[in-house]
Structures are given as structure tokens and as C-alpha cells.
Subunit: 149 residues, 2 copies
């Protein structure tokens, strides 16, 4: 297990989020780039092929400084915020999901509305998720595997 | 990088195979289970969504003892054998691909014939590849993520 003292608050949240989603049958990939110029905190792939984006916000400033989140909506079936118990959830926008988490786990408090991806985009995203995950794994096993993506 | 003294001959071949396929834009996953009861040495996902199976054979006996390989054909677009330079390639069946490899790399010598997967199976396999890769990665990062699959 990673030493949690080396992880930033947002990364600790992401760990709890991944554990929560794993218990729901999802696999997650952190810092996933659905398309050039966009990087989401957590992309989750569900047992039925669902693709969810979860943005982890460790504090109010972390949220208010985020100018990009609306751009993520078109790259997932559902969009969630993940915050801890101290976060002022009333500042979060309507029509988004909410996942309360800490470093150790979490739970979905508000299910995000669903806006299903078009089949072609789902296919492309799932393939990119697969490729990125396999390459990250391969690089951990073999430093000769390139590090360009 | 893994200490290659700890790897079996077939695993060393698989490493070279992965490096070769990476250079062709593929991502690979070792010991992938396309369906219950079948486990392939290397499943490779290509830039256009191609799914290739590569079976690594370290010696003649390793090949002649394999009763299962024909069952793999229906789980990929192309099927390859990966062997080293000392392998008696004349014993390999026709209508399969050949990849010559060692621990450090390899090259495709005979392109396998293509038998394209049906879309529904491709979708399911790609999704399983994505899930398995992400879960293996997650388990390396977080020992609390379950180890059941």
C-alpha cells in the first residue's frame, strides 16, 4: 500500500473513492485523459460498461478554482463530486452526483443524473481506458516500455 | 524492471513479445482470461481496437502439451505463436501467426490470418481487458482493493 503520508488530500480522497467504487463492481483509473487537454481525477468503468467521472475536491478553494469541470460532462455517463465530511456541499452545482469519501472509503450520497454516451464515444473511451491501464501496468513491470503516454 | 532471473522462459518470451507489440502501438495484458476456464499468455489490444492472442512456447514440449490453443481462436481477431530462434517452427500449425522473440524484444515473422470478432464479443472482451488491467494496477497501489479476480 502507498504510504498515505506521501499522498496529497485529493489523492487520499481518490483512494477512498476507488475503494468505494470497487465495492460496487467498478474498476477505476486515476488522472485519466479522455481527450487532449482534459484530465479527470477518477474515471470509473462499471460492470455494464458504464463510464463515470469523479472529481475529488479537498476544500472549497479546490472547487472554486476548477474552471474545467463542465467540459467533463460530455465524456461520461454520470458525473460526481467526491468530497469529505467537512466540505460545504451546498456550493456544489445541481444535477451532479455526490460521493462522500475519506482516505479509507466512501459512499454515494446523491446519484448523478445519467446522460448516456453515444456508442462511438463509449467505444473509444473504453478502448483508451483499457490501453492506458495496461500500459501503466506494463511500465511498472518493465522499464523498457515507453513512457510517452 | 523485474529481475529476469526470477522469470520463467515463457515469461521472458512474454516480456519480449510485449515490447515488440508496444512498438506497434499495442497494449498487452499477460495471463488474461477471456472466459471461464481459458487463460491466454498475452492478450494485446491494438490502436484500432484489434484483439490479438499470443501464446508463448519456450520449447517443443511446451507446445505439444498444449491441448487448448484452438479454443483461443474464437476469442481474438488474430492468433500468434511466440517462440525463440531455437524453436522448431515447422511443428506449428498452418493458419496461425508467428512472432520470433527473446527476453528483449521480437518481431512478427508471419502475420496471422484475421477472423474478426463479432461486435458484441469485442465489446465484452475490451471491457474485461480494461477492468482487469485497472484492477491489477489498483491492487499494486492499494492492498485494500480486493484480490478476487
Amino acid at each position: 500500500m502507498q504510504d498515505q503520508h506521501l499522498l496529497q488530500p485529493g489523492q487520499l480522497l481518490a483512494r477512498g473513492v476507488s475503494r468505494c467504487l470497487f465495492s460496487l463492481g467498478f474498476a477505476t483509473l486515476k488522472e485519466f485523459t479522455p481527450t487532449r487537454g482534459l484530465r479527470v481525477d477518477v474515471m470509473a468503468l462499471g460492470p455494464k460498461g458504464q463510464l463515470w467521472v469523479i472529481e475529488c475536491k479537498s476544500c472549497r478553494a479546490d472547487f472554486t478554482g476548477d474552471q474545467k469541470w463542465q467540459g467533463y460532462l460530455e465524456w461520461c455517463d454520470r458525473f460526481f463530486w467526491a468530497v469529505d465530511l467537512d466540505f460545504p456541499t451546498e456550493i456544489l452545482p445541481a444535477d451532479t452526483g455526490l460521493l462522500l469519501a475519506d482516505a479509507y472509503g466512501g459512499e454515494i450520497v446523491t446519484m448523478a443524473p445519467e446522460a448516456k454516451l453515444a456508442p462511438a464515444r463509449r467505444k473509444k473511451l473504453t478502448q483508451k481506458f483499457a490501453t492506458d491501464a495496461a500500459l501503466r501496468l506494463a511500465r511498472l513491470e518493465d522499464e523498457q516500455i515507453g513512457r510517452s503516454s
